[in-house]
């Protein structure tokens, strides 16, 4: 049963990608609705299965880990799978209405969307370093394709910058994989973690390279230059996918590597250094978000800032007591989930606002509060989560991170956490201020369909409610892996 659920996650998106390539945009929409339903059910099913029975390993093609490719299905993985199902479904539904079906290139939206989803699920479940590289490339190329769709000069410029950044990131990651394979002769992350020692300069260099490549792909300050143009110029549902999910994939791999290998291959300097870059991202990203003239650029720079918090994982889990490390891991997971929900809500709502006033500029938003209060309210609710006010998921995440910082004696991160919240409030209120100004000459507003307004509201409400259900969400993370051995034994090795 479990393996069918898990295979549903990996293979249905691929099959849907292949099928939707043969259809046009409208037929693809029908097909994709069915696919999103299947994905949602399968993800929920796998989450429930793991929550009740614990995680397991699955050997693809029946070949065990060093020879074949193993998948690791644990609490963290299914949490991300479920998050992906929620956010991608919302973006897919929104895109089905938002995109113009009369353009001939929009038919390629669905295959790219499904390839992207397949790659994301591959990353969450992957436990093989080289397979993760291929999954990452699947994600990167389909994301670049989605940004470039339509082929305008500005979109192409952003897509090319994006493409070069992610390609360099992938290669640097692969270089690290090459060093690890050269030394340990296996590509399985668990296999490497089992044999790696404390004083291994080559392996430490490999970890450093992999983290650097992944940080570039996650747009960690100061490597974030490619993100705002790409996320700002893409269509809103695509921006929501990119900001909500795609940048999290490379961060997820970095976090997995750090948690498995960081205690032996990392160092105090490295951990604090990465944390400092994250802090820099929070401050600098928020400041730039405050200064942007275009609405979606504000949201995109806010992503740079919010990604910064994620990298506090590195100092808060290095050489600290086990309970503190767990607190930090839980806080970061909540931050990923709440940022994915809030930021996709924000991008979708921003898309509606732009559709309504027919301009991308913040100062053109004057008076829109009368005409589109619902979308504006979704935008604000998502903003509340970014400012991390209670009871949002953002608050729960920052609360855990605050506790972890204080318990490990690293008070300086507390400053960053508090300052980040204040700065987030500044850039969200700036948008609000613009929408209430009544200096607009014309009353020429377009009202987007109701369904476009409902989707960001649902996502924003999820982000808001996440703080209230944080306990059950987090309890899945700490599940034991004992059952793993039995399930692995079930999957018979081929004769």
């Amino acid at each position: 049963m479990n393996q069918w659920l898990m295979a549903g996650l990996l293979f249905t998106p691929l099959a849907w990608a292949a099928l939707s390539l043969l259809l046009d945009f409208r037929q693809g929409r029908w097909l994709s609705w069915l696919g999103m339903l299947i994905q949602a059910l399968v993800s929920l099913g796998l989450w429930v299965a793991v929550a009740s029975n614990g995680g397991f390993y699955y050997a693809l093609a029946g070949w065990e880990a060093p020879l074949g490719i193993a998948l690791r299905v644990d609490g963290l993985a299914v949490t991300f799978v479920l998050l992906t199902a929620a956010v991608a479904t919302a973006c897919g539904l929104h895109a089905g209405v938002y995109l113009d079906p009369s353009k001939s290139w929009q038919r390629y939206f669905w295959p790219l969307f499904w390839f992207l989803w397949a790659g994301l699920n591959g990353v969450w479940l992957g436990a093989d370093l080289f397979n993760l590289y291929v999954s990452l490339e699947l994600i990167s190329l389909s994301a670049v394709g989605l940004v470039a769709l339509g082929g305008e000069a500005a979109a192409l410029r952003a897509a090319l910058r994006y493409l070069f950044a992610v390609l360099l990131g992938s290669l640097v990651y692969l270089l690290g994989v090459a060093l690890l394979y050269g030394q340990f002769g296996t590509l399985s992350l668990t296999g490497i973690a089992a044999v790696v020692g404390a004083d291994e300069p080559a392996a430490a260099m490999a970890l450093l390279l992999m983290l650097a490549g992944l940080a570039l792909k996650t747009a960690l300050f100061p490597l974030h230059g490619w993100l705002p143009p790409a996320h700002g110029v893409a269509k809103s549902p695509v921006s929501a996918l990119l900001s909500g999910l795609v940048v999290k994939a490379s961060f997820y791999i970095a976090a997995r590597l750090w948690l498995e290998l960081g205690d032996r291959l990392g160092s105090h300097t490295l951990a604090q250094g990465i944390g400092a870059l994250g802090a820099g991202a929070v401050i600098w990203g928020s400041w730039l978000a405050f200064r942007q003239p275009h609405l979606k650029q504000v949201v995109a720079y806010s992503s740079v800032a919010q990604i910064g918090y994620l990298f506090l994982l590195f100092p808060l889990t290095f050489a600290v007591a086990e309970p503190v490390s767990r607190l930090a891991q839980q806080g970061i997971t909540l931050q990923v989930v709440s940022h994915a929900l809030a930021k996709s809500a924000m991008f979708l709502a921003a898309g509606n606002l732009i559709l309504s006033v027919r301009s991308k500029r913040v100062d053109a938003l004057g008076g829109v509060s009368h005409y589109l209060p619902f979308s504006l309210f979704s935008f604000g609710l998502a903003g509340v989560s970014l400012m991390s006010l209670p009871p949002t998921g953002g608050f729960a995440a920052k609360w855990l991170l605050l506790q972890a910082s204080l318990a490990s004696g690293q008070w300086w991160w507390v400053v960053v956490l508090l300052l980040g919240g204040v700065l987030a409030a500044a850039y969200v209120f700036r948008i609000y201020r613009a929408t209430f100004l009544e200096d607009r000459a014309s009353d020429d507003f377009y009202h987007p369909p109701r369904s476009l307004e409902a989707i960001p509201m649902l996502l924003a409400l999820l982000a808001l409610g996440l703080g209230l259900v944080a306990e059950p969400v987090l309890s899945v993370l700490a599940l034991p892996f004992e059952v793993a051995a039995e399930v692995a034994a079930d999957v018979a090795v081929q004769p």
Partner: protein
Amino acid sequence: MSPDLLYALAGVVLCGIGLFGFLLLEHLLRRLLAFNLIGSGVFLVLIGLAQHRNGPDPVPQALVLTGIVVAIAATALAVVLIRRYYHLTGHTSLADDGEAQS
């Protein structure tokens, strides 16, 4: 020093040269070539280092074949994008008109 290790070290040098080109060159096609140079370097390190340890090893060879196909796909995608960008704007680099994002 075995010949395999020599290959790996040649790969290291290629990575360094490629990185230099990638960071400094502004012409998009040249930058793409630099990317491919880094790619070749990484593949050489992958095979050379693994074969230095235990002789001919089919696993890294297969990995490199996969990696080459992925690199070809990425290169082709980049060339298509660059060509279209050039057709629309007449520019061969991203830096031509500054950081205008409109």
